[in-house]
């Protein structure tokens, strides 16, 4: 039997994977029907471009969550704010400085991630508290550095982040490719396997020769790096950085990961599911906005629909 061809379809048929896309399609259809079939394509375009940011940070968050229970990155909001501020300030509206600014914000993100793991490994602080604390520190740094000032992105950078081809956002296309690459990394590289092994049983992974420390350091660094990337792109996309622009990513980054089918118990990750979940959450909000319900009703509906979707998709059965 061919392990690849047997392994892949099994992954493709993961219920959660399909579930989130089906759910996204359903809420989109509902919104379309309500608005009389108008603007469906545009709605999808908007969903794609905003989901991009959630997918980018979601993948980083997924790598961390997959390394086992208790591992989570709560420093993403601060990192996004800081990286956005750095990108805008370094670029200073000049097209020629785009690359420098991007590199600076990526470096800042990666540094935050690596520092997070330092707190976890060297000081033995549980990840949730370590990243929670570092989020506050990074936020302060962003305030002290950026002072909440809004610097406009360089025109070329702003154009790139908002460009579309045939109505499809260019950034979203890049993110699809990025997700595909990360899916391969997860399934086919030593790093990916190491992440999943550590997530199932860190001690067993260590005894099986996995470079535990290096792998965990890399997951936290990558998560910071992706948050930094997201911050820079978001600043370009929305015409400048702001201190609060990362705020909604605290819970949302976790939500897209777990709704996308990654197991919080560790050892199981799902990249396409993140796309599905990000689209689903955006379109769900859009649908409820379209219905014109009040805030209370809208929140209640959001919650109930999320629970309904996960209940229908069902959890995974224990192996034995």
């Amino acid at each position: 039997m061919n392990g690849l061809s047997k392994g892949m379809p099994r992954a493709l048929l993961e219920k959660a994977w399909l579930g989130s896309f089906l759910a996204a399609a359903a809420v989109w259809a509902a919104a379309m029907i309500y608005s009389g079939g108008q603007g469906g394509g545009q709605m999808l375009g908007a969903a794609l471009s905003f989901s991009t940011f959630f997918v980018i940070v979601g993948i980083g968050q997924m790598l961390i969550i997959a390394t086992g229970p208790g591992n989570v990155d709560l420093s993403i909001p601060g990192t996004i704010a800081l990286a956005g501020a750095i990108a805008m300030k370094v670029m200073d509206g000049e097209d020629s400085l785009i690359v420098v600014g991007l590199a600076a914000s990526l470096a800042a993100g990666a540094a935050v991630g690596a520092a997070n793991y330092g707190l976890i490994r060297v000081l033995r602080i549980p990840p949730i508290i370590a990243t929670l604390s570092s989020n506050l520190l990074v936020q302060s740094t962003a305030i002290a550095y950026g002072r909440g000032l809004r610097v406009k992105p360089p025109p070329a950078f702003a154009d790139f982040t908002t460009a579309t081809v045939f109505g499809v956002p260019v950034l979203a296309l890049c993110a699809v490719v990025f997700a595909a690459v990360m899916a391969v990394v997860l399934a086919r590289t030593v790093f990916g396997r190491s992440v999943l092994a550590i997530g199932q049983n860190m001690r067993a992974a260590w005894l099986a020769g996995v470079a535990v420390d290096r792998t965990r350091l890399l997951t936290y660094t990558l998560s910071g790096l992706f948050a930094g990337l997201c911050g820079a792109l978001l600043a370009g996309f929305s015409g400048g950085s702001s201190l609060d622009m990362g705020m909604e990513y605290l819970l949302a980054s976790i939500a897209v990961v777990v709704i996308g089918g990654t197991s919080v118990a560790g050892g199981k990750a799902n990249v396409p599911g993140i796309w599905g979940a990000a689209l689903f959450l955006f379109l769900l909000l859009t649908m409820l906005n379209t219905f014109g319900a009040g805030a209370g009703v809208r929140l209640v509906m959001t919650g109930l629909i999320i629970i309904a979707v996960i209940t229908m998709a069902g959890g995974d059965k224990p192996a034995r």
Partner: protein, 314 residues
């Protein structure tokens, strides 16, 4: 004489440009007051999370530190009442502004938020006498300010029935959230002629309209530098016309002076109203020039200005 008095600012959030400008104004005005020997000290405290419970704990700590007065921008008009009452009974003067508290023992420097909603419709009625489709961007659900401005807007629509709110989203007063939610709902909306806002979200809305390739509607702005800059660009390019309205961050300095006056033993009424800061087509350039890049259009108060406000409230 208040030379030995200590006044603290309790602030619940620092994560946007308005709050940053507010803190800066406080720093500037109180720094001078301390240097002039008017008060002993006037530090500012910000909570790590924007939550009433955390601010309540902060107020309790300020009581313990023996401040004579606490100037308060409250996370909630009611949820801090317990802590405020504790402060009052410990002999601490509490002056709230912007986010005011309902506890009777505290002073309030309130902005008529409902009015802030209503003037937007008054303006639109002048501009679009024939009526129009409106998109409303609201703030954070469950928060007093959001509800007040919304009420004002609803009242305005009732006054001018030619206007119709065709869509409403919550932008949480954050530019990126506003942009995201507007972009989501736009495709399902008919033509939108104007956008009524609560401040801080106008630029995000403009971005969303641009991304959706929709004609830019009349967007009411919220005095932020980026909003004013954008407005100016549009004005220069195609005679774009709108208005901008928000509360001036410098109101914190008014609250400072009010607290100082109370400590000085002057009679001060419990409730005061400050006007909001409105920018129109004519004075756009002037205001833009006075606003620092990335900040918010601002008015700072001197002791004399504060006395005028107190006197007019009597």
């Amino acid at each position: 004489d208040t030379a030995d008095k200590r006044i603290a600012l309790s602030n619940n959030y620092a994560g946007n440009s308005w709050r940053q400008a507010m803190l800066k104004s406080w720093d500037k005005v109180t720094g001078k007051a301390v240097a002039d020997g008017i008060v002993k000290e006037a530090p500012a405290f910000t909570t790590a999370e924007n939550q009433a419970t955390e601010q309540a704990a902060q107020i309790q700590n300020l009581i313990l530190q023996g401040y004579d007065a606490i100037v308060l921008n409250a996370a909630s008009p009611t949820a801090l009442n317990g802590a405020v009452k504790e402060a009052c009974s410990a002999g601490v003067t509490v002056v709230s502004f912007d986010g005011v508290v309902t506890e009777p023992c505290a002073w309030r420097i309130a902005v008529d938020f409902a009015k802030m909603g209503e003037v937007q419709l008054d303006y639109l009625a002048k501009r679009m006498a024939g009526g129009a489709n409106l998109l409303e961007i609201r703030g954070l659900a469950g928060v007093f300010v959001d509800d007040e401005i919304h009420k004002g807007i609803v009242a305005g629509v009732a006054k001018y029935p030619q206007f119709k709110i065709v869509g409403s989203v919550h932008g949480d007063w954050a530019q990126t959230v506003a942009q995201k939610n507007v972009a989501g709902i736009l495709p399902s909306l008919p033509k939108v002629d104007a956008v009524v806002t609560q401040g801080g979200d106008g630029y995000g809305a403009a971005q969303a309209f641009k991304a959706a390739n929709r004609p830019t509607p009349l967007i009411v702005m919220g005095n932020r530098h980026d909003e004013l800059t954008w407005w100016k660009q549009q004005k220069d390019a195609n005679k774009y016309e709108t208005m901008s309205v928000s509360i001036a961050p410098g109101v914190s300095t008014l609250a400072f002076w009010v607290a100082q006056q109370i400590l000085d033993g002057k009679p001060v009424p419990k409730d005061m109203i400050v006007p909001f800061l409105r920018i129109d087509q004519e004075n756009l350039e002037q205001n833009l020039a006075n606003t620092e890049p990335g900040g918010v259009a601002n008015v700072e108060y001197l002791q004399a200005d504060a006395l005028k406000v107190i006197a007019s409230a009597k």
